[in-house]
């Protein structure tokens, strides 16, 4: 266990020493809060709460796709990675450390959103609802972690960057994160529940604001989790097989 912490700690140090990487992850969701949420729905408690939840999902999905996708792909290209494999520890501490580190950056990425929501909008949530939302976020972030890992283990770093950039915006917009619950453009509504971002958003809307979640979206979120777990495991094994067998 202490080795997991060690790996997480040094991976965290590696990333945090390039502050722009961290600021980049925090900027987009915070900027969206300031420019769209605060002026448009900031005065409406319910709408601001839903919008904040949407932005948290946006921050989470984006950070997962980028930090795992590009982080893993870049590490795979470095000779440091195989060197670490020769140390007397299996591949578990490095992997677990990566998840721990990724989770840390996840929290950093949505923290500004929460702060802006608390300070500049009427968004509210009881401690009970907040705890529920934290649980929902944990569950909702799993498929995006898996998506990031799949990209990272399956693709070289340049391709991973391109794929991450291609995916994050359509996923966010398509999942209805840029509009109030149920208020996405008409043509989008039939598609939206099939995207994992929508499922995660439904969970957060429900936990933070008492929204009645769309069953299809929640079931699809579970389906995505399973599909991406299989894809991630396959990409990981294929990479191990190519580099270490």
């Amino acid at each position: 266990m202490s080795l997991v912490i060690t790996h997480a700690r040094y991976q965290f140090l590696e990333t945090i020493r390039i502050p722009i990487a961290v600021i980049g992850a925090m900027f987009f969701p915070a900027a969206a809060m300031i420019f769209f949420v605060v002026p448009i729905v900031g005065d409406n408690a319910a709408a601001a709460t839903y919008a904040t939840a949407s932005m948290v999902v946006f921050a989470t999905s984006t950070t997962c796709i980028f930090s795992y996708g590009i982080g893993v792909a870049e590490d795979r290209a470095q000779p440091w990675d195989p060197y670490v494999r020769t140390l007397p520890a299996g591949s578990f501490p490095r992997f677990a450390g990566r998840i721990l580190n990724g989770t840390g950056f996840l929290v950093l990425s949505f923290l500004p959103v929460l702060v802006i929501a608390a300070v500049a909008t009427e968004a509210t949530a009881t401690p009970g609802r907040l705890a529920l939302a934290a649980g929902a976020l944990l569950a909702g972030s799993i498929p995006f972690t898996l998506l990031g890992l799949t990209i990272g283990y399956a693709l070289p770093s340049k391709a991973a960057l391109a794929v991450a950039q291609l995916l994050f915006f359509p996923l966010a917009f398509g999942g209805g994160l840029m509009s109030a619950p149920g208020q996405a453009p008409g043509w989008l509504e039939p598609i939206s529940p099939f995207l994992p971002t929508r499922g995660a958003a439904e969970l957060l809307w429900a936990s933070a604001g008492g929204w009645q979640p769309n069953t299809t979206a929640v079931v699809m979120l579970a389906v995505w989790t399973v599909v991406l777990a299989v894809a991630g495991a396959a990409a990981y094994r294929r990479d191990e097989g190519r580099r270490y067998r």
Partner: protein, 286 residues
């Protein structure tokens, strides 16, 4: 019991046979040099010993067990061919990170002092010179108080003085070392025993002196029509109208050429590169 052992090991990458029935033991306290041209299979063999790769056939043992088992790697240290340190980590942090994997690591200050890195402890590795990075990469192999250290071309890219300083540090190590190099000079400076690898096979496994004689060839080049069979010639090839004769003794060869009345022009004598010596050695084998 040997610390590391390969028994009839073959390793295939797709259609390429990188190692072909290689057997090699590394005993306690021994410094073994793996010598061979690029692509000979040196790094592949090393990667089998340190658990990064598995043999296609044959058996590889580290302290009597499977190198893939992390517990077997507790008493080894590794310096890979490519340095690749995380550029944003400080020198001291790299040492601490590696040290965290061992029960009784060498204290950071002591290790850095041994490799002349004390002044650099607070520097990020991305800002180090190539030589400093290489020294750190070698130092990391010694953090866990290993009994056996694997060094893959430890001084490639270093200038002469940096190379000598690093050799000094390696020589002070009391345990066993398996190092690869394509410089005969480096192997001479460090190793007791030399294993020459070419085309994935062990071509020679002997003392430094024996191997030096084996690979210390000269290339005698001349223009002419025909050279008869001469004792001193190990191998002969032609390109662009030049005849190249490989020989362990160029003086004897020249005498033989003259005595045999061979018509030649533009005679040149060069020390054969290790590459050429290896090729000669390889073609003799087959």
């Amino acid at each position: 019991m040997p610390l590391a052992r390969a028994i009839d090991v073959s390793r295939r990458y797709g259609d390429v046979l990188a190692l072909d029935q290689v057997s090699l033991d590394v005993h306690n306290g021994e410094i073994v040099g793996l010598l061979g041209p690029n692509g000979a299979g040196k790094t592949t063999l090393l990667n089998l010993f340190i658990g990064l790769r598995r043999a296609t056939s044959g058996r590889v043992e580290l302290f009597g067990g499977d190198p893939g088992d992390p517990a077997r790697r507790l008493r080894i240290g590794v310096t890979p061919q490519e340095t690749g340190l995380p550029s944003t980590l400080r020198v001291g942090e790299c040492v601490d990170f590696v040290a965290a994997h061992y029960p009784d690591p060498v204290p950071r200050g002591e290790l850095l002092a041994r490799f002349g890195l004390s002044d650099l402890a607070r520097r990020q590795t991305g800002g180090l010179s190539g030589g400093q990075k290489r020294r750190l990469a070698v130092a990391l192999a010694f953090v866990g108080r290993p009994r056996l250290v694997f060094l893959d071309e430890p001084t490639t890219g270093l200038d002469v003085s940096a190379r000598r300083a690093l050799w000094e540090a390696i020589r002070e190590f009391p345990g066993s070392v398996l190092l690869t190099s394509h410089y005969l000079e480096e192997i001479e400076a460090l190793a007791d025993r030399v294993v020459v690898i070419g085309g994935g096979r062990v071509l020679a496994d002997d003392t430094i002196d024996a191997v030096r004689n084996l690979v210390a060839l000269r290339r005698v080049s001349l223009s002419g029509e025909h050279v008869p069979r001469l004792d001193a010639v190990v191998s002969e090839h032609r390109d662009n109208g030049r005849i190249h004769l490989m020989t362990p003794d160029s003086d004897a060869l020249v005498r033989q050429l003259v005595t045999a009345g061979v018509a030649f022009r533009d005679l040149e004598i060069h020390a054969a590169s290790l590459e050429e010596a290896f090729l000669t050695l390889t073609s003799k084998e087959s």
